[in-house]
Symmetry: C2
Subunit: 240 residues, 2 copies
């Protein structure tokens, strides 16, 4: 293993939607380098960068090494640099041990995030997908890092067509509704929700209905990206 830079780390917040709930990817603290201290704390996949490693590369490498996941687009979203973030002492001791007693006093971490559709292929032996609603105490400031990522995701889903990345190609309005409720952690009146979608021409109704359901099959829709760009161009410019 190349030498580590004991001052800088990367951490990845991978949010996954499993068609019901929003989850976040955690790993067991113990799994790293086989060191097993007391307790079974969970953490975000992340680690110290190598001495000569680019930050983005380090994030992709770390995610892959710790979880087996790749081909996930990571976006840098914030830096966490509180001088006291490596607490409690127990967590810091663990970090020193797993890095063969590097002299670690302070680590600034660069946080990355991603939102994915959670499928079987993302469930590797090392991954723990934990509902964001009820997180346990994670190591260091990882709860705070997730909170910040959620804030950003919630702003984004209100202003960008993120939801379609979580839906199948053909979807019902009910499914869209579920995505919004799960991610924003709010409930929306379904009649109002439908009303708001009505004027959106980029939601194109198909000549098809749901199959294999034991209620009245609902209309299926698709998302038309070209029509969305037109709509967005008109809407998005504040003035110009």
């Amino acid at each position: 293993m190349p030498a580590l830079n004991p001052h800088i780390s990367v951490d990845c917040v991978i949010l996954g939607f499993d068609s019901k709930e929003l989850k976040v990817l955690l790993i067991e603290r113990e799994h790293i380098n086989g060191v097993s201290p007391e307790g079974h704390k969970l953490k975000l996949p992340g680690s110290l960068i190598y001495k000569n490693e680019d930050l983005d590369k380090s994030a992709y490498r770390t995610l892959f090494e710790l979880t087996g996941l790749r081909d996930i687009f990571l976006k840098q979203f914030a830096v966490f640099g509180n001088p006291n973030r490596l607490s409690p002492q127990e967590d810091l001791d663990w970090l020193r041990k797993t890095t063969n007693n590097y002299q670690i006093d302070r680590v600034v971490t660069i946080a990355y995030y991603s939102l994915i559709k959670l499928t079987e292929s993302n469930r590797t032996p090392k991954t723990i997908w934990y509902p964001v609603k009820n997180l346990p105490d994670l190591i260091f400031d990882h709860n705070q890092i997730i909170k910040k990522a959620l804030e950003i995701l919630r702003n984004e889903i209100r202003s960008k067509p993120l939801c379609f990345e979580l839906l199948p190609k053909k979807f019902t309005i009910r499914q869209m509704h579920d995505v919004y409720e799960a991610i924003l952690d709010e409930s929306f009146d379904s009649r109002n929700f439908r009303k708001k979608l009505k004027p959106l021409k980029f939601l194109v109704p198909l000549q098809e209905k749901e199959k294999g359901v034991n209620h009245k099959p609902a209309q299926l829709y698709r998302f038309d990206r070209k029509l969305y760009f037109k709509y967005n161009k008109k809407r998005n410019g504040f003035i110009l």
Copy 2:
């Protein structure tokens, strides 16, 4: 001076609009600690953080110490961590000298930005306000850092009411037009520009016209923040 953390720095991109041009705040490399190497390179105000210093605090402190400016809201916008960013060698040598030969190999910098109305009070003896259009070669990757800040600013001014922070309380459409042209570095047909503003109810015409001009005095407007919030709520939600 407290001990430095020779691995992490902060850099501030302060963009200032002087009612004609967009400028960026630079300082002379030489001014730091009185060390005067060859050349007269310019740089962003920024420096290594202290060992136990919070990142945001470090940015405010550094800006104040190097330029005399304070009360400027700084927003973290990106991290620059390319392992080779401390080049050319001459710049790295300078950094080592000014920090009394700290062992500096790699520095990850957290970049902050701000947009202000450039007035006499921002012009302190240490500040150099340089037009962003025609920047010289700055030290390290500072040109790149400014480029990224401009990208963000240009996106923001298209979607947020930033321009009003650069205008006087009472302003003409011509003045607004000038802000957009200067910041986006594009020219806009003034008739089209007026047409686009027409439906915006948060631009409230005053019972007043320009004074002391030697052309036909133009209508004055004010920005109504409440009406803007209403407008924005309607417009901004993608769906909800």
